[in-house]
């Protein structure tokens, strides 16, 4: 949907001018999901109306509601993912319901946002992009947000002393927390299912200048990552390189960059870029 109809100019214009668009993540609406009970009840109510009206109902679906919240129509994602089909549904809705058109009811804003976190935490933004269109989905790059707590930041910078040439191995648990997100766009995004066959990440202080140290980060990994949610023998193999600028006295990180040099998955090549993000 994201690469197809939700990137279509006509559909974007129609959604903004005549609808109130919303998306709902099924995981949030599951029994243990983070959505409030009232929100879950609202989604269930829409499903029930769909069944009562003998319309198409499912967890990955498009639903159109009347301005009073009652179900008007629905469409399975296999159909809705075709721009012409979704456009037809939207146009039919506009023709029949004659909504008040105008500016977007909610101003558009970036949907991938830095998560809220403690002031001493380090927020890392990760981008994964297919480099050859093989082995993984490649319509657009995917992202992750990784938050290291203040204690984890201290653990990341674990050298005995920060003088040029000093080296240290980065805590395995901490390296895992970052490297487990090093995979391209796949259906399976449950990192708990990832299994490392090997991994290493180490730091070497390259320079100390004006109270700021720069350390080079280097490592490599081999991690089992299933494309779908069942074993398929697919592995990520990657070498990584980067650097981190920090104050040796306080272990406060100024900047961190970590990228894959060579990375393969499922017969294709992909790239990962991680960068620290400043608090807004």
């Amino acid at each position: 949907m994201r690469a197809g109809p939700l990137s279509n100019s006509q559909i974007i214009t129609l959604l903004n001018s005549a609808f109130v668009p919303v998306y709902a993540v099924n995981e949030d609406y599951s029994r243990n999901g983070s959505a409030p009970a009232e929100e879950k009840a609202e989604r269930d109510r829409i499903f029930k109306e769909g069944y009562a009206q003998k319309r198409s109902v499912g967890s990955v679906h498009v639903y159109v509601l009347r301005p009073d919240g009652q179900l008007f129509d629905s469409m399975h994602v296999a159909e809705a993912a075709k721009s012409e089909k979704l456009l037809a549904l939207l146009n039919k809705t506009v023709t029949e319901l004659k909504p008040v058109s105008g500016k977007p009811v909610v101003p558009p804003e970036p949907q991938s946002c830095r998560p809220d976190c403690a002031t001493d935490a380090l927020t890392l933004h990760l981008v994964a992009r297919s480099l050859d269109g093989r082995g993984a989905w490649s319509e657009f790059p995917v992202e992750d947000w990784i938050v290291l707590s203040g204690a984890e930041v201290k653990k990341l910078l674990a050298a005995q002393k920060f003088a040029a040439g000093a080296t240290w191995t980065i805590d395995k648990e901490l390296a895992t927390k970052m490297l487990t997100h090093f995979y391209p766009a796949t259906e399976n995004n449950d990192v708990a299912k990832n299994k490392f066959e090997r991994q290493s990440l180490r730091g070497t202080v390259i320079s100390v200048r004006d109270g700021v140290a720069r350390a080079r980060l280097e490592g490599e990994m081999k991690m089992e990552h299933w494309f779908y949610h069942k074993p398929d023998g697919k592995y990520v193999e990657a070498t990584v390189v980067g650097y981190v600028d920090f104050k040796p006295t306080t272990k406060e990180i100024r900047s961190l960059r970590l990228v894959t040099d060579e990375a393969t998955y499922g017969g294709g090549k992909f790239g990962i870029a991680v960068q620290s993000m400043e608090a807004h």
């Binding site: 939700l6 990137s7 959604l15 919240g69 909610v106 790059p141």
Partner: protein, 85 residues
């Protein structure tokens, strides 16, 4: 003695201790930075951001009533906002 240690530490930091192989590290750092920029999502890959999404279903229905517009609801697995879906 403590003063001597402190003095040495201050002197060390002001001496700007350089890399054993600064040329190699500079090249690598520049490459890393370039790689980070190259891999970033382009605006055309994030057209989802051009749509004014409501916060949740209840908020959408409330706004729909206020503005007399239908709700477009897409339910899905994974995280569409980051592409991990």
């Amino acid at each position: 003695m403590k003063s001597l240690v402190l003095l040495s530490a201050v002197a060390l930091s002001s001496l700007q201790v350089e890399a054993a192989n600064p040329a190699a590290s500079t090249r690598e750092d520049a490459w890393v930075e370039q790689r980070v920029q190259q891999l970033q999502p382009q605006a055309k890959e994030k057209r989802l951001d051009e749509i004014g999404w409501a916060k949740d279903i209840r908020a959408a229905i409330k706004l729909a009533g206020e503005h007399q517009r239908p709700v477009f609801l897409f339910t899905h697995d994974g995280r569409m906002n980051i592409g991990r879906c």
